[in-house]
């Protein structure tokens, strides 16, 4: 058995390797893509001298590895370069965008869990019952419908027909909490409901396994009622795959939220990334790539730690 410290060191080493690989790839992007970023930025009338100077400014004239290490060095000092589109510091852009995407992600997960946990509990307690059959059909319907279709439907229903909620736009929480939540609701539902379908199926299956175990029969023989049994005894050992799903979701939410953020005009990392890609704004693309990789690594670490609290056997190396 390895000591906890060695285990942690190995994990940290792996995480560092992943981040380095992502950084190198990100910095190599301008070389890999067709066309010159300098021409894209300066226009076709640019002189060769201007282009050379521009490429030197981006570090394109140098070895990719050397450029990567310079970039990492600068990044560690809080400098991610400047946007080619508007000259703003990339760090400032990210600082404005990350909280928005994070808020949207957390809200979507809350929506997904609020739907999935109760539905899965009732479904698993009476498999084949009314709730279970409706939930199963509903889950597969949700999974089959693309997220943006749901988003458009929600916009049409709540914003256009009922005029209850704003269709697009964003108000920061610090400015007006109520308006912030009103703008948050539709994108959070659009992101969260398809996830709820996945969560429900996963948790239901896991709960069925747990409920078949002898310790559940033992708890019932001591007079434990259904609600207590499900919430206090079965939910926790069944929730590990759900934690994994949410952890993976932190990484993929960036991709998924590009669509949803664009649809609802939410000024998050997703819209920043799609704008940067369209405008060949390499410093921004590179920063978004590395920052989301850091997010994935941190999420994986958090999932690992959460596993240990949820199942004491893991902490003891019994599983």
């Amino acid at each position: 058995m390895t000591s906890p410290f060695l285990g942690f060191a190995a994990r940290a080493g792996r995480a560092a390797a992943v981040l380095l690989l992502v950084a190198v790839t990100a910095l190599a992007l301008p070389h890999l893509m067709p066309g010159s970023p300098a021409v894209a930025a300066l226009g076709v009338t640019a002189t060769p001298e201007q282009i050379t100077a521009f490429e030197a400014g981006l570090g394109l004239d140098r070895n990719v590895l050397a450029a990567t290490f310079d970039w990492i060095g600068a990044a560690l000092h809080g400098d991610l370069g400047h946007s080619l589109a508007n000259g703003a510091a990339v760090t400032t852009e990210l600082a404005n965008r990350i909280p928005v995407t994070l808020e949207l992600f957390v809200a979507a997960q809350l929506v997904a869990l609020a739907v999935a946990v109760p539905v899965a509990l009732v479904s698993a307690w009476r498999p084949g019952g009314v709730v279970d059959r409706i939930a199963t059909a509903g889950a597969f319907l949700w999974l089959a419908v693309p997220g943006f279709v749901l988003g458009l439907l929600l916009i049409w229903l709540t914003a256009v027909q009922l005029r209850l909620l704003p269709a697009t736009g964003w108000v920061p929480f610090t400015e007006d909490p109520v308006e912030n939540l009103r703008h948050l609701l539709l994108p959070a539902l659009t992101l969260g409901l398809p996830e709820a379908a996945v969560f429900t199926r996963t948790l239901r299956g896991q709960l069925l396994d747990t409920l078949d175990q002898t310790h559940v029969a033992a708890a019932r023989s001591r007079g434990m009622g259904a609600a207590r049994l499900l919430l206090r005894r079965a939910l926790r050992p069944s929730s590990l795959p759900l934690v994994t799903l949410i952890g993976i979701g932190i990484g993929t939410s960036l991709g998924g939220s590009v669509l949803v953020e664009s649809l609802f005009a939410v000024p998050g990392v997703g819209t920043l990334a799609s704008g940067a890609i369209n405008g060949r704004d390499f410093p921004v693309i590179q920063a978004v790539m590395v920052v989301s990789a850091v997010g994935v690594v941190l999420a994986t670490l958090a999932v690992d730690l959460l596993y240990r609290t949820l199942d004491p056997r893991i902490a003891h190396g019994h599983r």
């Binding site: 002898t214 033992a218 001591r222 007079g223 003891h316």
Partner: protein, 340 residues
């Protein structure tokens, strides 16, 4: 005569399996246990002994529906006709169960203190400190070393024998009058078996617990169970005081079961006699005696007529057309046609 703690009268139980089949498991089961008494129920897999325990407890597997007729009297109160709320109230506090496999019957992610005190906390809120204190006392009563520390821990930190002690502590927590022990030592090492059985014996004696000890190992009941009920095909085929049944078995099945117990004395190399064939298929109704196809004494009557319950000695009965003991021999054995 005092009322027995558990009095089961002509209990018939059918199980509706998830696949839609209806299995008639228990047939006219009669048994009783007095306070402080241990009744050993012995039989091979599929004899219905676990279904008997679950029917008495009133908790079946989640996916099956059980249907029972007859009476299950706990201190004179019929549990089969009791309201669901009353049955739920008795779980853990009136009737408690010790499960077979301590490796799977404890929840791996719930602290031992919380599991041991379940019978109490299902009824009333109990602050954490009180739970820990109560659990430590219960664990101490079942000889778990360092009980206060163990109460705060998790099941995976314990050996199989200690886990079964935790299971027993959880069963005793609600101060039940009837303890159902379903093969409590089958999953344990032989050396640990004895200490766990001794522990059950001690609590039976000091608390006056009526104990139903289910086992497939008839040898385990010597000196522990006052009486034995032998089950076969969902029926009690023989019952009586332990010495009576083990020394003068009347039913051929009991005799065969006793022959298959390995002995410490005698020749070293010898084949252990096994009972040929396998237990009856429960999905099909049995006419006559369920053991007839495997019985070396069976006559043609055995295949068609269910054997009556006959006296085989003092408080000793057996259901057999051709019992082994003299007292139980039918009045005129020649009157029944018997094939060689």
């Amino acid at each position: 005569m005092t009322t027995p703690v558990l009095d089961v009268r002509s209990l018939n139980t059918a199980i509706h399996a998830p696949d839609g089949r209806r299995l008639h498991i228990l047939h006219d089961v009669d048994l009783h246990i007095d306070a402080g008494e241990c009744l050993g129920v012995v039989g091979e897999s599929g004899s219905g002994k676990s279904v008997l325990a679950r029917t008495v407890l009133g908790v079946h597997a989640r996916t099956v529906r059980a249907e029972s007729t007859g009476q299950v009297l706990l201190n004179g109160e019929d549990l089969l006709t009791a309201a669901p709320a009353r049955r739920a109230e008795l779980l853990g506090t009136g009737i408690a169960m010790v499960h077979q496999d301590p490796m799977t019957s404890l929840n791996p992610v719930v602290r031992i203190a919380d599991q041991v005190t379940e019978s109490l906390t299902n009824r009333r809120r109990m602050p954490r400190r009180e739970r820990l204190r109560t659990a430590a006392a219960l664990l101490a009563a079942v000889d778990v070393p360092d009980p206060a520390r163990r109460a705060r821990g998790y099941p995976h930190e314990l050996s199989g024998g200690l886990r079964q002690r935790v299971g027993i502590a959880a069963a005793l927590a609600g101060d039940p009058v009837l303890l159902l022990a379903d093969e409590p030592t089958t999953a344990l090492d032989v050396t640990v078996q004895r200490t766990v059985l001794d522990l059950l014996d001690r609590h039976r004696a000091t608390r006056g617990l009526a104990t139903l000890l289910i086992t497939h190992d008839i040898g385990l009941l010597y000196g522990r169970a006052r009486r034995i009920a032998v089950m076969y095909g969902g029926r009690v085929v023989e019952t009586g005081p332990t010495e009576e049944v083990t020394e003068r078995p009347a039913h051929p099945y009991t005799a065969a079961l006793l022959r298959s117990v390995p002995r410490v004395t005698g020749p070293l190399r010898r084949e252990l006699p096994a009972i040929p064939g396998s237990p009856p298929d429960l999905s099909r109704p049995v006419e006559g005696c369920p053991f007839a196809p495997r019985c070396d004494r069976a006559g043609s009557v055995c295949a068609t007529v269910a054997p009556p319950v006959r006296a085989a000695g003092p408080a000793h009965t057996a259901s057999c057309h051709f019992p082994l003991t003299a007292e139980a021999a039918p009045a005129s054995p020649t009157s029944l046609e018997r094939t060689p």
